[in-house]
């Protein structure tokens, strides 16, 4: 096996490792309350039967900005039940090449089911 082939394979493994390691989800879940159901959904993941909202966007953060607030308008006053933040390799890469100006935001959130 040539030296360059071994190097390419090592590099490939390193990239795959970085991608795997940098993809993760953190979920904030209220221990109280019932999530908004979605009887029409056919999801077969963690959010089965749950109405989940997704935001997949890129935000621009200026050099002087300390934080960024995304507004949620599609939840009732009952508030949020779950918020999931996902970090991806693409997101990290985008942030790195734009020196932190562009940030990928991948969020899922679930509202509370209204009470009666």
């Amino acid at each position: 096996m040539s030296r360059s082939y071994r190097l390419i394979r090592l590099l490939g493994l390193l990239i795959a490792f970085c991608i795997l390691q940098s993809c993760y989800s953190v979920r904030l879940k209220n221990t109280s309350g019932v999530p908004m159901p979605d009887p029409l959904s056919s999801r077969v993941n963690y959010y089965r039967d749950i109405k989940v909202h997704e935001k997949d966007t890129v935000i621009t953060i200026g050099a002087l900005d300390k934080d960024f607030t995304l507004l949620i308008k599609d939840c009732n006053p009952g508030g949020l039940h779950t918020v999931e933040y996902r970090n991806t390799f693409g997101g990290i890469l985008l942030s790195a090449v734009t020196f932190g100006k562009k940030r990928k935001v991948k969020i899922k959130y679930v509202c509370m089911k209204p009470v009666n």
Partner: protein
């Protein structure tokens, strides 16, 4: 007005993907807002009118109708191929005031609450918790709706409490589109609500123990369960312990339920005479594919509510990556011999951690169970005295004719008064086999074949049994219901035939009822079966 959106559909499935099943139309009803109808009773009545409108529509189209909530049942009990109704948004609750009690009521009004059908166990626990109250028992999790739980007999493992239907004291049914078709049932020997209150929910009352006990575990076929009145109790704490004990000792406890004179002890749980306390809950876990001489057991003891207590929630709630489980199943379908090996590897995920100790309220201990992919569950009820024999027979079946990708457990439930309750023995041991759905292969029998063999093996060995209505089984097995319930099956059919008109009985039937023979209408039944006995 409450509003309903009809959605044309082609199929419907259970939460755990035990279908899909065909479906024509799905109704989703939402309540009128509080701002437009401030009174809860008025909103409740408004919703009843909406349901009656849907029943009329269904009748006009000569079709069938079935309501469902969280679709947690794994059998097709909640399914109808024509019209189905999602009632999860119908979640009003009403505490029962002292003045709304029946004059002969023996209940404490502060323990009584009316819950509309779509309230989940979790929501109910939160409502009760806000009043310093608790459910007496629940299933192993909290996502089911109350109407679904009661209609199918959902149970926990509370030895001296019973299943969810056993603390229901009143049922509000909608049996058709006419004014007289809103009915409130309760026991004549234990009335709960005053006639004045019942009139406020536009219902006619029938107080009759037999009718009430038939309609409790109704399998969704006595009408639309609009609401139930439940009896709660003061909030309490459960102390949960997980231990690994000798197999013989675990089975001796299961067979005798004699904890007081047992050599098994939990250091902190003694009565005033120094004897081991009787637990609130006892559960035995068993892997049929190893010959370990020790079983993992879970026990819970009831204590008065007092704060503070340690946080019962884990800091991080991790779940197994679903694709790994799918991979496991795909391999198992081709190489069934790998199942025991996989189950052993997944032990940490499937079984609770030994020596784990937790304290919490009922609602905290039996908390959320997130969806983890397609699953099956078989659950047979036997007299606790027969539990070691039945467990041995079923484990041998899995070992000799399987394997199947699942693990066994035993839970214990006090006898129910409901005519078709599977918890029909003095203490019923529910032997459960839970696992991941698989496809039949050349080397692996199908789930239906396995469940058929379970029935055959128990019959051949003269072990009286029942089957959980919401779990997987060969529900079309000839004479199954008559074998399990004897005369009670006929009594239930007679009462149902007397209670519903012929066209409404047909509307509220489904494939599950047809397969089990329970949809058969009986002619010339005694009308006294449904007479109010006050």
């Amino acid at each position: 007005m409450a509003s309903t959106t009809p959605f044309p559909k082609t199929e419907w499935d259970t939460l755990h993907n035990n279908g899909p099943f065909p479906l024509k139309l799905l109704y989703v009803t939402e309540l009128e807002g509080e701002a437009n109808i401030p009174s809860k009773v008025d909103r409740y009545n408004d919703a009843a009118q909406e349901i009656q409108k849907l029943l009329q529509e269904t009748l006009d189209n000569n079709e069938g109708f079935r309501a469902y909530g969280s679709r947690w049942s794994m059998s097709n009990i909640a399914h109808h191929a024509e019209r189905m109704h999602y009632n999860g948004f119908m979640n009003i609750h009403l505490p029962i005031a002292e003045e709304n009690l029946h004059e002969n009521a023996s209940y404490n009004s502060s323990n009584l609450f009316l819950f509309q059908c779509g309230n989940t166990i979790k929501r109910i626990s939160e409502v009760l918790g806000a009043h310093g109250k608790s459910l007496k028992a629940s299933g192993a999790s909290n996502g089911q709706t109350i109407a679904g739980c009661v209609s199918t007999g959902v149970h926990g493992s509370a030895l001296d409490v019973g299943a969810v239907q056993d603390y229901v004291v009143g049922i509000n049914l909608i049996t058709g589109p006419e004014i007289n078709d809103i009915v409130y049932l309760e026991r004549h020997t234990k009335p709960a609500l005053s006639n004045t209150f019942i009139a406020q929910i536009n219902a006619r009352v029938i107080r009759n123990d037999k009718l009430f006990n038939a309609a409790l575990v109704s399998l969704g076929s006595f009408g639309f369960v609009h609401g139930v009145v439940i009896e709660a109790e003061d909030r309490f704490l459960l102390k949960r312990y997980v231990r690994k004990i000798k197999k013989e000792l675990a089975l001796e406890l299961a067979q005798t339920m004699d904890f007081k004179n047992s050599s098994f002890k939990i250091d902190e749980e003694f009565d005033e005479n120094g004897k081991p306390k009787r637990p609130y809950h006892y559960k035995v876990f068993m892997n049929p594919y190893n010959n370990e001489n020790q079983y993992v057991v879970e026990l819970m003891y009831k204590h008065p509510y007092a704060v503070p207590y340690p946080d019962p929630f884990p800091i991080i709630n991790k779940s197994v990556y679903r694709d790994l489980i799918h991979l496991f199943i795909k391999i198992s379908e081709k190489f069934p011999d790998s199942i025991p090996w996989f189950i052993k590897r997944l032990k940490k995920v499937i079984l609770p951690e030994v020596n784990e100790q937790t304290t919490g309220t009922l609602a905290e201990i039996f908390w959320d169970a997130p969806y983890q992919g397609p699953a099956f569950a078989c659950s047979v009820g036997v007299d606790y005295k027969d539990s070691p024999k039945a467990l041995d027979l079923l484990a041998k079946l899995a070992e000799n004719e399987g394997p199947i990708p699942g693990i066994f457990a035993m839970r214990f439930v006090k006898k129910s008064e409901a005519i078709l309750a599977f918890s029909k023995f003095p203490i019923t041991c529910m032997i459960e086999i839970d696992g991941v759905l698989w496809k039949k292969s050349k080397k692996l029998m199908s789930l239906k074949q396995f469940t058929r063999r379970m029935i055959e093996v128990l019959k051949q060995n003269d072990v009286p049994f029942t089957i959980h209505w919401g779990k997987n089984s060969d529900w079309g097995f000839s004479g199954l219901v008559e074998h399990m319930y004897g005369e009670n099956a006929q009594t239930w059919k007679n009462i149902r035939s007397a209670f519903l008109t012929e066209k409404m009985a047909k509307l509220f039937s489904n494939d599950f009822l047809d397969a089990t023979g329970l949809s058969q209408l009986q002619q010339n039944v005694d009308e006294d079966l449904i007479a109010s006995l006050t």
